[in-house]
Symmetry: C2
Subunit: 416 residues, 2 copies
Amino acid sequence: MPLDFSDDAVSRVNTSGRVSALDKYLMRKFLRAMDQAPIAVELWGGERLYEGKEEPEITVRIKTRKALWDLIANPELNFGDRYSDGSVEVVGDLYQALEIVGAHKTKVMSETGSMSRLRAALGRGRPRRNTLSDSRENIHHHYDLSNEFYRLWLDRDHMQYTCAYYPSDAIGIEQSQTAKLHHVCRKLQLKEGDEVIEVGCGWGGLARFMAGEYGAKVRAYNISHEQIGFARDKAKEDGLDGRVEYIEDDYRNVAGTCDVFVSLGMLEHVGLVNYPALGAVIDKCLRPDGRGLIHSIGRNRPRLMNRWTEKRIFPGAYPPALKEMAAIFEPYNLSILDVENLRLHYALTLEHWLERFEENESKVRELFDERFVRAWRLYLTGSIAAFRLGDLQLFQVVFNRGDSNNLPMTREHLYI
Amino acid sequence: MPLDFSDDAVSRVNTSGRVSALDKYLMRKFLRAMDQAPIAVELWGGERLYEGKEEPEITVRIKTRKALWDLIANPELNFGDRYSDGSVEVVGDLYQALEIVGAHKTKVMSETGSMSRLRAALGRGRPRRNTLSDSRENIHHHYDLSNEFYRLWLDRDHMQYTCAYYPSDAIGIEQSQTAKLHHVCRKLQLKEGDEVIEVGCGWGGLARFMAGEYGAKVRAYNISHEQIGFARDKAKEDGLDGRVEYIEDDYRNVAGTCDVFVSLGMLEHVGLVNYPALGAVIDKCLRPDGRGLIHSIGRNRPRLMNRWTEKRIFPGAYPPALKEMAAIFEPYNLSILDVENLRLHYALTLEHWLERFEENESKVRELFDERFVRAWRLYLTGSIAAFRLGDLQLFQVVFNRGDSNNLPMTREHLYI
């Protein structure tokens, strides 16, 4: 675990005993940065600190001095760990707490800047690399947790672990994921007999949908062993195994050609340095009049993934800015036809996921443990806040070859 | 004229007398690069060269040795000048000729590579700069040609000199430009009472449309004196002068704030180095829940404007790649919500313009001269080819502030 350095650094601090004047001073700095938001802090001695005017709606309980110093040293990384192990608790609405802190992030970071030298000494790290073997390990970390776990809270029809599409916000997760799959297929002008290559196919839902609903023939790649196993069983069960082939391999080993190239939610795991390699794969396999779509979490400007999420949830993940995504297309004269930013759709998707996760909390605890439950609650809740606050984007990018005129004149066909 | 160097260099060549073996050798190289396309060359001695198998459909007449050596030395720059002065003629369909040559451009450039050292010695140049005073001069060159000239071939209702929008390709230029204005206003969710800042407003058509059709209040900037004069007169005539203000000034001097920021076809003239300055202007004036749209000719990857077009038609122009456009938005946390590539719409628009231009050929000749008629015919025809071949793109980019949630969930409202 290359990033697991925080405990060492903080172990130099006296982590036991009574609340000191310095402890309180630091917490007050934090609270002042929040512009009198209704958040109180309760320290391990039971003492409450509060800077707001109204009755506080949220109380953050910091139960040990070690937790406090961890938060000061690297809030982005350590809040998640201390929340997960229970040495930090949030009394009140977790989403509201994360949204308030997120909206004041810049100010919090600068107000607690007295600790910036310590933070610099602790280092900031980088996302893990994504060589072929690193990728396998990183993907194993997240997606091989167990199919049973993901089945508890993803949509039942297509097991989609990517942003859904809400033509109306009154629909549920099954409908919105089906709408997403149609939206993607329409953007790709998918038609009967089209040969599709999908990279990063998850549990294979899009591939089965393309074959079953549109009559396409799909070869779908994934390096997650658990997911590929599930996908193959399901295709057989649905009688689609003649038209969908699931291949347990890396996108860099894609062979053959296709009419349609598609990837939902893989780019986050590809790593910036490999974007030209992904572009080369597309350039190699896309036929002259082929169409492509890449769907990825992104940013308005380059910035690393939240450190804790990258460490505990998604090793190696990086959400690119559009400028960075251009490195896939520009070297190969691929032409960007359409970009749609669906970030508010991801907030709705995550709300549905979180609701089911909470309904199945006790089953998740049985499968793993309390720390896992708390970590995933924080991850899902924090992601809702990130998409609502505009910290994260969701880009669907449609492209074709720069010299192909096989493109629809308008996007009206997506909506009527 | 910083780029007017070609004549000097080529004057070293013996430009008179009989066709030599070298002249013919060079032309055969050119023809071979065209893969037996039905293009013949006729040299000044009357000799015809042809490499195709079928009967040739197009004959390129090169009427002097100087013209031939100009073409070899810098085809991109000099074809236009020699076509304009009539020392190169195209017998047959000009569009077809430009499309064939455009499709073989890479091969032509490499086959005539024996002249690459001469080309290097002649230099390649850069687009002119766009300081405040350069911008005035560059814009004056193109847009102050005379309102009378542009009225001969632009749409009559809105005098739009930017890409139109074709919900159906059976409509004419008046309908397609009106459809473009609606498409832009819908993308901006324009509503009654909205305060708009437009930069680079041309003859003021969009500003009047926003005020007249949507009840917006518009301040529109332009540094073309001729255009501003026309725009003011027309607004008064239409009784819109209370709601539209035309300001003869540079986008860098924009003052005040707005709900909507819009610019159609100005970015091409802004110059890469000034993109952060444009972003700073947007950041300064866009209100927290404001929306913006930038519409610009672009590229799939960074490349200079065609040299001849940049020299004779659009001084200082540069069509950016999307990656380059990001320099406007990313430093200011502006969020890209929607990108639509409308390049085939520009090909249709240019076809309509060319048709009217040809109908009014004699009037254009009266206003200017034969060289001007030929230069503009080449420019309009060559631009159709560039958009059809995918050498040029047309990007409409919708954006808002990164922390604003005032965005429509879907784009359905654009189509129903």
